[in-house]
């Protein structure tokens, strides 16, 4: 029976691939020809191969989940530690997403690597809407992009509005020096009245909140403070150090941008790992389910072929008897 099975398989190979050995084998068993056209025609080999590949995929996704989980733990601590950094600025300057200025720069933060759920397309969508919101006849808005993924998406429809793109941020672990040098480069290369940083704030492993932080240029801060409104309180503050108010506001705006960027980059990296973790978790679960179904199909087919063979033997025996 084992030989018969082997021959059958050889026959099947001959059908799918022009392997000379199998052709030879199938010619050795011409009687199989008719039988394989019957019930036993369902291939077990293909199902077995499929099962093997699904098992391998599951192994990979499980490993990726583990890696993401351990990276998340490390980065989460640092993201939480950096949260104190932007709060003083928000307490001082408030929150001004609705400010109406001429030159808007949208800083979109995304990841370099994929397989992390929807976080990159969320930041891209928010950035696009942000651009629609802030561009108009007498005002313009441009992009500064962090990370490969947002670049790949924004290049399609808004390549003319991209001013800078930055990648390979996460070769070493993220640190303040790195992000501040980066922030410095951005400030040197773009002209802005308002910088709008778009990122995913980490809430928990399954939830991220798309967030935008607004940083105003020193001139706009001064203008808005004089005009009253949200920044009206700023005039109540005494300025220590520096020769003039505009000088200290300039330093403050630069420092604010680097601090906000640092936190934003960390929060986004944290969201990335969290999203990757849950994406990999669900895909290894899916692979498991698929494997279960395949095993069921495989076993059924095997059982069916055994049953058919038994029936053949029995009916053959009874024909001899009769």
């Amino acid at each position: 029976m084992a030989m018969a099975a082997l021959r059958r398989e050889g026959k099947r190979f001959a059908l799918t691939s022009p392997n000379p050995i199998n052709v030879l084998r199938s010619s050795l068993a011409p009687s199989e020809e008719r039988m394989s056209l019957g019930v036993r025609g369902i291939s077990t080999q293909i199902v077995r191969n499929r099962m093997k590949s699904v098992k391998n995929i599951q192994k990979i996704t499980k490993a990726m989940k583990m890696v993401a989980a351990s990276k998340l733990r490390a980065i989460q601590v640092r993201a939480e530690n950096s949260r104190g950094l932007w709060q003083p600025f928000t307490a001082l300057l408030g929150d001004t997403p609705s400010v109406d200025v001429k030159k808007n720069v949208i800083v979109t933060i995304s990841s370099d690597k994929g397989l992390c759920g929807g976080i990159n397309s969320t930041s891209v969508k928010i950035s696009r809407a942000m651009r629609r919101l802030t561009s108009g006849p007498d005002k313009e808005s441009t992009y500064v992009i962090l990370g490969e993924k947002a670049k790949a998406q924004l290049i399609r429809d808004s390549r003319n509005f991209i001013e800078l793109s930055i990648t390979e941020l996460q070769k070493n672990f993220l640190n303040y020096t790195q992000v501040s040098v980066l922030a410095d480069e951005i400030l040197k290369n773009v002209e802005y009245d308002a910088l709008r940083v778009v990122f995913n704030k980490f809430q928990s492993v399954v939830s991220f909140l798309p967030t935008t932080a607004t940083i105003l240029s020193p001139e706009v801060v001064e203008r808005e403070a004089e005009a009253g409104g949200k920044l009206g309180d700023l005039d109540a503050y005494e300025i220590e150090g520096g020769e003039t108010k505009s000088e200290i506001l300039q330093n403050l705006a630069e420092f604010q941008f680097s601090c906000v960027m640092f936190n934003a980059v960390l929060e986004n990296a944290c969201s990335e790992q969290g999203a990757r973790m849950s994406a990999m978790d669900s895909s290894s679960r899916n692979a498991g389910e698929m494997l279960d179904r395949l095993t069921l199909t495989y076993n059924r087919t095997r059982q069916a072929s055994i049953t058919t063979e038994l029936i053949e033997i029995i009916s053959g025996a009874s024909a001899l008897e009769g």
Partner: protein, 202 residues
């Protein structure tokens, strides 16, 4: 395919429900914070929730009290750590560029740029000494003091021999500097090291 779609739907509804909760509390704490922004957002992207803004993640701070409180609330943050957060102290002395500046409860609201120097936190008889490299101190009217520094270390972690070495090195560098940039760098080096050595001796 169907299975995937339902899984996705499920995860989306699961993700949406915790999102809804902080939103409702936001409205309480900051009702008209950026209504203009939300309205404008709805016009350009009606199918998308407007993104959050940093203010909605911040713990609301109390209004300015009518009488001067007895304690000062200090937040001292570094990029890699929150050294002090919401701590009640008696006094903080920070190295402003115009000289050492003492902050007591009820201090006038101030924005102070910090230079490299010694920062002390006084709490009863307890005094903590930090050396800060640079940063800002923001004092608010409600006796909150936010201090942000790029680098700050407890004074006992500084190595005096390295400070003396650096002081000599940068004095020499300042004399040999040719370009404006080199000169400025050497000047910064000299400032930092002399501040370090005076922090160690004082």
């Amino acid at each position: 395919m169907f299975r995937q779609a339902t899984a996705r739907l499920l995860s989306r509804s699961a993700a949406a429900s915790p999102k809804a909760r902080p939103f409702s509390t936001d409205l309480e704490s900051a009702p008209a914070a950026d209504q203009a922004f939300v309205d404008a957002w709805k016009k350009v992207a009606p199918n998308m929730d407007p993104p959050k803004t940093p203010l909605s993640f911040m713990k609301p701070r109390p209004p300015t009290p009518s009488s001067i409180p007895s304690k000062l609330i200090v937040n001292f943050s570094l990029p890699y750590a929150s050294e002090l957060s919401g701590k009640e102290v008696d006094m903080v002395i920070v190295p402003a560029t115009t000289g050492q500046m003492g902050i007591l409860p009820g201090h006038v609201p101030t924005i102070a740029e910090l230079k490299p120097g010694l920062m002390t936190v006084h709490e009863g008889n307890d005094v903590q000494k930090y050396f800060v490299s640079s940063g800002f101190a923001l004092v608010h009217a409600n006796s909150f003091a936010d201090i942000i520094a790029v680098e700050a270390v407890p004074v006992d972690r500084i190595d005096p021999t390295l400070v003396q070495k650096g002081l000599a090195e940068f004095t020499q560098k300042l004399n040999s500097a040719s370009t404006e940039l080199e000169k400025a760098e050497a000047q910064i080096g000299l400032d930092v090291h002399s501040a370090l050595s005076s922090a160690l001796s004082g």
